[in-house]
Symmetry: none
Subunit: 194 residues, 4 copies
DNA sequence: TATGAATGAGCTTTCATTCAT
DNA sequence: GATGAATGAAAGCTCATTCAT
């Protein structure tokens, strides 16, 4: 892991735990094992560390999702795997969960305010992925002819809800619940079998 | 409007726009038309203003939702009205939308950290409401026998997704989209008609 | 002395001794007997403290010069008194001397760079004063018909030179020297007596 | 130009424009085309670069003045040429002008504070030169029997005033003004002709 | 000899909180 | 109750200097 990555890892650690303003560069530097001045060799300022770090962890996550999309599976299997990757990944990693829940909205509003919506495209990835899966399912006749955009948003929203639940009741989330959840989501899109 | 309310209104205004840390008590006091010291007569500290203000706006919103719940309607009509109240209210009020999107998660994580989960019950209200509506639908035979908890979460998540979309593309959100959205949500729970 | 003046006095003390950048607001606040934050109640930022403080001491000095100008004296006497006020005042006050020597040029270049030349008019006061005295002398027939502007500049330059000498050899500057100096300056402008 | 000179040239460039504290060694090294560490092979620290650079440009300038002193001219011609060298040189080179106006005083106070007055002798050169010219004039009967030291200081001061005027009103300074100025300075020392 | 990545002391500035009035 | 002047801890950021290469 090079120095830039060390810094981003440290940053993510504090940002996810305390949010942007309550995270001190002093702590991030110490945790990363570098001098405070070193941060400024790799990043322009605190916001730059924040944005690049969020994007960094997001990109790693998106990679995993992209892999699923490329698999040679039918739409139902793919959607199931996709939910696995999303929920399992997130709920096995409190940091990612907190980022998703608090920092992403904060991050988007920040970008929105400063008109730097470029990086926001990372956020649209999930929407795009789900659109692709649903389209595949419709074309292959597996899925009902639902409105892709709206359905994608419903699924994303449900993932987020699930994550939020996890953060506050992580003990009560179990494999059985998750199976039930997946079954319902699949039920939303799959054609009824007579 | 008494002084405490004036302060909370001012607070909401800044918190929703700039978040907790970027909102200055100086501005809040000025906007509320009271002295800075006065804030401390009504609230313990900044966080107390934050928590009470979020709760305040939330409660007013919950009241509206409670009204719907009490109406003498069948489950489908009630769910539709409930979505109306949620989406219409939120998307006609950017402040509320931003609170929902950014401050609520932040707020919950804050409470979670400081072990003051008491106020969090306000957040469970929507879950409870939806549970009630779905239960009514199931009992009356209108709705399929879905898992209430999971379905409630899916619906809440979809509302949140919808709000986020609104914040970033408020121009593109139209009545037609909303109708389609409602039809789909209702489709999730209603029994098929032969 | 009110708080703003206390701060400016403290500021002048450090700025004259160490220059702008080597003067710490921490020290200025401590010396002034106020909290660091208090500086920002009375001034916008460090540069504002600097500019206002320089202007402050300059203005007090200009007042003294203005008094001389208003005296009912002939031009020779007035010029002599003017040199007294300039040299005596400066050389009895190392702070003023250092301000004149280092901070004023620095100050002017700063203003020049930031295009805020408004306050520079304070610097033109001496030029104006001398122009007035010389004009009076010419009109009354006491002085030769010299070029006022150039002569005023020569006199100002000579004062500055004198001050610089003082800073580095304050021990060697004596009353006798000063008398000689004044005689020469007066000799530059006064008509020869047959 | 060797590396040391390259560095001093770069240094002068920044010091004259921004002063000591606002000039970054980073920029100086880059401008000089050497590594930042290299600065420390040739100089002890930033102040050393500053002092040696000022001295360097000063020495080059003094050389020019020395040449005039050595010329086989009468005192009046020499003084005129001396003013030419001073004013023309300075006012054709904003860098030199700014050094003279701001950095020299700063430089001298710095040296004075750290008791390293050795290099200050460079500053006395002009005084010495003028003393020599005036002495020559007095001895040859061209000049009045003025106090050399004081007269030298008056002339130096007038040059400085002239330079300051130039920096702020460089457009308005013209050949005609300069001629008038020289005539007056010469008038100060030359014997009246019946 | 030459480098530039790395450092951390030191700076300015902000702002929640206090308290005398 | 109501105020706002005063505070100082805490933060982000800069940059002269070092040192492994």
């Amino acid at each position: 892991m090079n120095k830039k990555e060390k810094i981003m890892n440290a940053a993510i650690n504090f940002f996810s735990e305390n949010g942007f303003d309550k995270s001190a560069l002093d702590d991030i530097a110490k945790y990363a094992g570098v001098g405070k001045g070193t941060l400024y060799l790799y990043f322009k300022d605190k916001e730059d560390i924040y944005i690049k770090s969020i994007k960094y962890i997001f990109d790693k996550w998106i990679e995993k999702m992209d892999e699923v999309i490329k698999l040679d599976l039918n739409a139902s299997e793919k959607l199931e795997r996709y939910l696995d990757v999303n929920i399992k990944q997130i709920t096995s990693n409190m940091t990612l969960a907190k980022i998703l829940m608090r920092e992403i909205p904060n991050f988007l509003l920040k970008l929105h305010k400063s008109n730097k919506m470029g990086p926001m495209k990372i956020y649209k990835k999930r929407e795009k992925h789900l659109n692709m899966i649903i389209e595949q399912g419709i074309n292959s006749g597996e899925f009902k002819n639902v409105n892709k955009g709206i359905m994608a948003n419903i699924i994303i929203g449900s993932i987020n809800s699930y994550v939020m639940k996890y953060i506050f009741h992580s003990d009560k989330i179990c494999e059985k619940d998750f199976k039930e959840y997946k079954k319902i989501i699949l039920g939303l899109v799959k054609k009824e079998v007579k």
